[in-house]
Amino acid sequence: MKKCIAALNSMTMAIKAKEALSENAIFSNIIKLDSDMTKNGCAYGLEIQCNQLNNAKTVFGKKRIKIREYIGESDKNV
């Protein structure tokens, strides 16, 4: 199953986002993003199954969770 990433500013926001998804039965994993993906050093992302990405976006919108960017397919090196 393909994985997509929602990049977030901080671990705090990553936990908030993960909790919001969990409440809506969407499984996600917090991962640390490589700096070439974030441009300014340490940041975090939520790994989500790509077929759940639209549902996740709806949850983030409702909860006013700001996503830095959505990154398409990920591989395990992310």
């Binding site: 500013n9 901080s10 671990m11 705090t12 926001m13 936990i15 908030k16 909790e19 917090i30 991962i31 640390k32 700096s35 974030t38 300014n40 050093g41 340490c42 940041a43 975090y44």
Partner: protein
């Protein structure tokens, strides 16, 4: 041991608080927000849950707006110094703790700001508001005041002061050191810009915990800069909460304990806590007011903190005599010279007895017995 120094720090704490603090140290105390490995995530998640619980208790819908500090003094220093700008006029009340007075006086000494002290010991709310208005200047930008005094049970009408601040475009910073976990506080309804509070007092957390909650409408500069695991390649602190104001490793075990304390308070309910503390405080105040040779300050105030003196005994000597009978009280000026001056306690200050939910009526009666013995022995 009868502990009546809860305004300094509460004791005892609920068992869940120290159990979780120990559990954290033993099983999951990774560095929060620094990695995505299991222990770091476990710590960060616990801290986030604590932010959520605190935000909910104080009417804030964003957990990330809760910023952890080491105590209320740190919270107040960060709040005041990150909001104040050169040339500002600041108002504080005559009941302020040194955690408000000293940073403000220091900024005045450096010619950064000017300040005035309004009277919060007026007989009614209208008079307090009138007094505040009499000090307003075109450059009055910040009002800092305590919600409840740390030396007696006087409280400030925060909701009304918040409305006055809103009307005049003033940022309200509230010191909730003695009220968080006892009185209802709602950031939005009270127009509070920044609420500063301890974790180790009426929220029953360990010492080393404090926080502030910042409203989104307040812009604030950074106060402490350093690493926080975010945007590490940038020289500047991030512009988002809470990491903008949190540099260095947080006190994870203490915050884990605080989370249990907050849950404990929420489960009991503030009304229940208030009711018990007020009933205990009323009995304590009644005893003191009806004992010859005892003077009670602000006797009309209802709550769990009572300030008094015994004729012929300095506060320090009297407190030592209580201590010999295993009763813990605090004597002196309680870091609040303004409040002592307003209440007229004199050159040696006074003795403070401060209660918590865990005190009992039989302890008050033992205190009374000891009080009578101290007076009789003079």
């Amino acid at each position: 041991m009868i502990y009546l120094d809860n305004a300094a720090t509460t004791f005892p704490k609920p068992g869940a608080v120290w159990r979780e603090t120990l559990r954290c140290m033993k099983y999951y105390c990774g560095n929060p927000g620094r990695s995505s490995h299991k222990l770091s995530l476990a710590s960060a998640t616990k801290i986030y849950e604590c932010r959520e619980a605190i935000a909910d208790l104080f009417g804030c819908d964003k957990a990330e707006n809760v910023v952890f500090t080491y105590n209320t003094t740190y919270a107040l220093n960060i709040a005041i110094k990150s909001v104040a700008k050169k040339g500002d006029h600041i108002l504080i009340s005559n009941l302020e703790h040194n955690s408000v007075l000293r940073p403000i006086a220091s900024m005045k000494e450096k010619k950064l700001i000017d300040y005035d002290i309004f009277s919060a010991t007026e007989p009614d709310t209208a008079s307090i508001l009138e007094n505040i208005e009499s000090f307003l200047r075109p450059n009055t930008r910040i009002l800092v005041c305590t919600h409840a005094s740390n030396v007696c049970s006087l409280k400030l009408p925060i909701e009304e002061i918040g409305a006055l601040c809103k009307k005049n475009g003033i940022i309200l910073i509230v010191d909730a050191a003695q009220s968080a976990g006892i009185y209802d506080i709602d950031l939005d309804n009270m127009n509070i810009g920044i609420l500063c509070a301890p974790g180790h007092k009426a929220l029953f957390g360990p010492q080393g915990t404090g926080f502030f909650i910042k409203s989104d409408r307040i812009n604030a500069d950074t106060f402490i800069e350093g690493g926080n695991g975010i945007n590490s390649l940038e020289e500047k602190m991030p512009d988002f909460l809470p990491e903008r104001f949190e540099a260095g490793t947080l006190a994870t075990p203490a915050i884990a304990g605080l989370f249990e304390g907050v849950k404990y308070v929420k489960a009991l309910g503030l009304e229940e806590i208030r009711y018990r503390e007020s009933a205990l405080g009323a009995r304590l105040s009644e005893i003191l007011q009806n004992t010859p040779k005892v003077r009670v300050y602000a006797p009309e105030a209802v709550g769990g903190t009572v300030l008094f003196n015994i004729d012929g005994a300095t506060p320090n000597r009297a407190a030592s005599e209580f201590d010999r009978e295993n009763i813990c009280l605090r004597s002196g000026f309680h870091c609040s010279p303004l409040a002592h001056a307003a209440l007229g306690t004199g050159e040696n200050g006074a003795i403070r007895a401060s209660l918590s939910f865990f005190n009992r009526f039989d302890e008050i009666e033992q205190f009374y017995k000891c009080l009578k013995e101290i007076i009789a022995a003079q």
